[in-house]
């Protein structure tokens, strides 16, 4: 097992929002205390409802935004609330790919220009000829053809554009790739091309992935470890096997049971959740999941549960007993 390339400890990101007429200012606790590590060659998947803080986590890890609190240690160097703005090399180590293969590429730039741009901005010492060579190599690496170099994004399919986005993210030879819903906008047939590409590149370049997805079948295929976020907090984290086959936190279990399975022969019992994700501006007392939880006890509305365990951790006062956690 190789050493962690990134360690996050109690990472928080809060936003102050101005109140309007008759509304007080408020704090949005978008990310509220996440701890995890990323390891070369491994994938940590992050799942959770819309608004649970997945993209916020992605922005903090990519150093687009500094953490409000907590430690982020990348390649042995610590990034505090002051951010990493000055440190080019550190920022180059972590790159991000966004969901939308249409919006994330500049329509006025050829694919070649798009690929060379990160070098132009971050590695001015690299000669123009060398820039082009590296961009062409990368194009081949992601399975695109040499003639694509001169073309514009509108001439490509969704999957091809997402390949370009991955290629661009790899131009600075990062150690960590943050993938925020990288295949959600793609057709099934194209999704598998991009997932195969990501798995190949990870193996070849020993990349660490932070893979955000709401599609649990994709997560199950690609992840080594899974982190379940609820209202900005990890409620469960552990090896993929444990999370899928023996989830201990009620929210994880509910999420798994709500996910439709592509097999008509298998119609399963659903756990019905009441209510919906409360606002990160005004979290419930005690366990944040308690208003929707069917295993709630008195203590749950008073005391916030802490993430506990070794390897497979969960934050719950009344976790699902091991003998009840049948395969989901």
């Amino acid at each position: 097992m190789s050493e962690a390339i990134l360690t996050a400890k109690n990472l928080k990101r809060h936003y102050e929002v101005k109140g309007g007429f008759l509304k007080p200012d408020a704090t949005v606790r978008a990310l509220d205390g996440a701890s995890f590590t990323l390891t070369p060659g491994k994938t940590l998947a992050v799942v959770g409802e819309s608004g649970s803080g997945k993209s916020t986590l992605a922005r903090v890890v990519t150093m687009i935004e500094p953490p409000t609190e907590g430690d982020l240690i990348i390649g042995g160097r610590k990034i505090g609330p002051e951010g990493a703005s000055g440190d080019r090399d550190l920022r180059a180590m972590v790159q991000i790919v966004f969901q939308d293969p249409y919006g994330s590429l500049n329509p006025r730039q050829t694919i070649g220009q798009t690929l060379m741009e990160p070098l132009l901005l971050n590695r001015p010492e690299v000669s123009a000829a060398e820039r082009e060579t590296r961009a062409r190599d990368m194009l081949a690496m992601v399975g695109l053809r040499p003639e694509h170099f001169e073309r514009y994004p509108h001439m490509f399919s969704g999957g091809q554009r997402q390949r370009v986005a991955v290629a661009r993210a790899l131009m600075l030879e990062p150690k960590i790739l943050v993938l925020d819903e990288p295949v959600s906008a793609l057709d099934l047939s194209i999704q598998s091309q991009v997932l195969n590409l990501l798995m190949d590149l990870q193996e070849r370049m020993d990349l660490a992935y932070l893979f955000i997805s709401h599609d649990l079948s994709v997560v199950r295929h690609i992840a080594d470890e899974v982190l379940v976020l609820y209202l900005g907090q990890p409620v469960e984290i552990g090896p993929k096997q444990a999370i899928f086959e023996a989830p201990r936190h009620p929210y994880t279990k509910a999420l798994l049971s709500a996910t439709p399975v592509a097999d008509p022969a298998l119609r399963k019992e659903r756990i019905k959740l009441e209510g919906e994700l409360p606002s990160p501006m005004n979290k419930p007392q005690g366990c944040s999941f308690n208003p929707r939880c069917w295993r709630r006890q008195d203590v749950c509305t008073k005391v916030e549960p802490e993430l506990q365990g070794q390897g497979h951790c969960f934050a719950c006062h009344n976790p699902i007993p091991l003998d009840e956690t049948e395969a989901a």
Binding site: S189, Q191, S192, P260, V261, D263, P264, L273, E276
Partner: protein, 329 residues
């Protein structure tokens, strides 16, 4: 008699680079209480064919059909007025882009109640009660308050649910739901799908569900229609489709599901859907099909019988094997 019957529907768009055929001879049949899913590659004409039925395409579109009948009425020939009485009442549609079908200038409540006013003779207070009930059914908390909200004041998921509420307002006989749950979380999605199938059971509402989520298909519908490049390539009952797909595209699509993967590398479909200028002369799937031969490249296939899922293929698959090829192998 079927509730909806569409025969040989084609839609052509006039574009600056010439005519573009988005829907190419599609048939759709929906019975009362039917649950039908339409699946297929992005751009395969799923939305356009349903918008054609609703009469909601722009003037650049030319729609032709041998038959376009709803509840015994010929939609090709009825007056605009008669059509408006049907569309929005007996047929309603949840659109793929939720924001585009809510009017930003009016509150959610006004829009739901206006639709009730147009199509029913409910009193004002009955309309208010019905609006609250609908909002509650689609899982919107504090519905009285939310009725007073303007669309931009709701999150994406919330406005999608408001749209669903609006589509259900007049108890349609046929609901066309175009990706109704894509902006929703799985927990809310499960609740919405249960609501829709519940309505089908209680009121006999028929549902046409357009989706790319094969999990949703497997758990929600009875029959599945698969489209590719503007054509229907397969129609089967859901169990059979997943177990024994007869068209090579369906088979390839299902093989790409991560949950079916037997190894780390996932099966893919090489290439892309044909566009305006590279539509093949023969089978439209032939450039990407692993079973294609000279006949496929030269000649358009015609649909097989119902026992073979009406597969639009010269060599429909049985248990993954092409049938009807000369034993040249």
């Amino acid at each position: 008699m079927a509730l909806l019957e569409i025969r040989n529907l084609s839609v052509d768009f006039a574009t600056h680079s010439g005519q573009f055929r988005a829907v190419d001879g599609v048939d759709v049949t929906v019975d009362e209480g039917d649950l039908l899913a339409i699946v297929g590659e992005s751009g395969s004409g799923k939305s356009v064919s349903m918008l054609a039925l609703m009469g909601l395409l722009p003037w650049t579109a030319t729609v032709t059909a041998d038959k376009l009948e709803f509840d015994g009425q010929d939609l090709r020939t009825i007056s605009a007025r008669a059509r408006r009485r049907i569309v929005g009442k007996d047929i309603s549609m949840i659109f793929q882009e939720p924001m585009s079908s809510l009017n930003p200038a009016f509150t959610i409540g006004w829009q739901i109640k206006e639709s009730l006013r147009k199509h029913t003779d409910m009193t004002r207070s009955q309309r208010q009660d019905r609006a609250v009930e609908l909002m509650r059914q689609v899982g919107i908390p504090a519905p009285e308050k939310r009725l007073q909200a303007y669309p931009h004041q709701l999150s994406g998921g919330m406005s999608q649910r408001a749209m669903i509420a609006m589509a259900l307002a007049n108890k349609p006989k046929l609901l066309i739901a175009d990706e109704p749950t894509t902006a929703l979380d799985v927990t809310i999605q499960a609740q919405i799908l249960e609501l829709l199938t519940g309505l089908q059971q209680e009121t006999g509402m028929a549902l046409v569900l357009i989706t790319h989520d094969m999990g949703v298909v497997a758990e929600t519908v009875q029959r599945v229609q698969v489209q590719y490049a503007g054509q229907r390539v397969e129609l089967q009952e859901v169990g059979g489709l997943f177990q024994n797909p007869h068209h090579p595209y369906t088979a390839a699509l299902l093989a790409a599901l991560p949950e079916r993967a037997t190894e780390k590398r996932l099966p893919t479909i090489p290439g892309v859907v044909p566009g305006q200028f590279d539509r093949p002369a023969g089978c439209l799937f032939s450039p990407r099909c692993s079973f294609a031969d000279a006949r496929c490249i030269a000649q358009r296939p015609s649909p097989a019988g119902p026992e073979l899922g009406r597969a639009l293929c010269h060599y429909p698959l049985i248990d993954g094997q092409p049938t009807g090829k000369e034993s040249a192998a």
